[in-house]
């Protein structure tokens, strides 16, 4: 492999772009294709499939062996709410390989002392998400319990095709949320993607246990997504 190809591959991964590498297994030249770039016709099908599935595989093209490796952006979590649950989630997420950022405009909650070493932004989600847009490889976890803070990022996450969208609140709270999001123009199919009550049902009681339930649900959403899921569709459309 040439260094220039590795540099291109690494630059794309740093920019959270999906990228595919074609390795010639009989000593020929390799190729690195960032999503959206043109693909040689002979590889089109295999490359498209790699972008969709994120899975590596072998392919013979004109009698020559190639290996196709796919690198999808690492899934990350964006949490709305610098609360007790996200204090625990911020510790758990990196262990499972998820980067996490936390947004909360309430400066009493969003203090560096409560979230030491964590990427924490004490500002309104509307403003932060303009600078740091959501994408299909991001999980949105809204746990402030306050519509003024949670609703915008929830709607944005549904529109951007985040692979997971979860919101804290009882069924009654969620029913009101559904009404508000409907009024914002979201379809019932979109709104149905919200996981509420949030987290796998493991009988979680403490904030830390709820954080475990949320993380497990995020992992399930990522690992069990199908090719027809919004992640794959948004990825393919980019």
């Amino acid at each position: 492999m040439k260094l220039a190809l590795l540099e291109k591959l690494n630059a794309a991964r740093r920019a959270r772009q999906a990228v595919v590498q074609i390795v010639s297994l009989d000593g020929g030249e390799g190729l690195v294709i960032v999503e959206g770039e043109a693909t040689p016709d002979a590889f089109a099908e295999a490359v498209q499939s790699a972008f969709l599935s994120g899975k590596a595989g072998n392919v013979d093209v004109e009698g020559r062996p190639f290996f196709i490796n796919a690198y999808l952006p690492p899934p990350r979590i964006l949490a709305i709410g610098a609360v007790h649950i996200t204090q625990a989630l911020a510790k758990l997420a990196p262990v499972a390989g998820y980067d996490i950022s936390i947004i909360d405009p309430r400066t009493a909650f969003a203090t560096p002392e409560r979230f030491e070493g964590i990427d924490l932004v004490a500002d309104w989600p509307e403003d932060v998400l303009r600078e740091r847009p959501l994408d299909a490889y991001t999980a949105l976890v809204a746990v402030t319990h306050d519509p003024k803070i949670d609703d915008f990022p929830l709607a944005d996450a549904l529109r951007k095709g985040c692979f997971y969208v979860g919101a804290l609140g009882s069924r009654k709270t969620h029913a009101k949320r559904v009404e508000r999001l409907t009024a914002l123009g979201l379809s019932s199919t979109e709104i149905d993607r919200i996981k509420a009550p949030i987290g796998l049902d493991i009988g979680a009681a403490s904030p830390a246990e709820i954080a475990v339930a949320i993380l497990a649900e995020v992992i399930a959403a990522y690992r069990c997504r199908s090719l027809a899921s919004p992640v794959a569709q948004a990825g393919a459309a980019q």
Partner: protein
């Protein structure tokens, strides 16, 4: 898991520092294999390594082969499995089979 310190980023850094680098990639797996297809192990000319292609079973053998690949510049295809005597010796005890492609990172 972060992109910053993963094997391919380290390979690029090592090359920039003037070190010789080989990249090993799991090309194919059969049965129970601990690391999925596409996993990387990167090796420098001194035998330093980052990443993995198995659960630690065959890394030693891959590193040895990688040093040869760095010296010769010619890529190699390695195969390890329980049916293979070498694999018994290096101990792919999980019962799977893997094929690993090792190539030198060229300037």
């Amino acid at each position: 898991m972060t992109v910053i310190d993963d094997p391919l980023t380290i390979a690029e850094d090592w090359q920039r520092q003037g070190r010789d680098v080989a990249i090993a990639t799991v090309i194919e797996t059969w049965g129970s294999a601990p690391r999925p297809t596409g996993s990387h192990l990167v090796i420098d000319g001194e035998g330093n390594f980052e990443g993995s292609v198995s659960g630690g079973c065959v890394e030693g053998a891959v590193i040895t082969e990688a040093l040869d690949v760095i010296a010769s510049g010619a890529p190699r295809m390695l195969e390890f499995g329980v049916a293979d005597e070498t694999a018994w010796r290096v101990g792919l005890s999980c019962g799977g089979r893997i094929r690993v492609y090792v190539e030198r990172l060229a300037a």
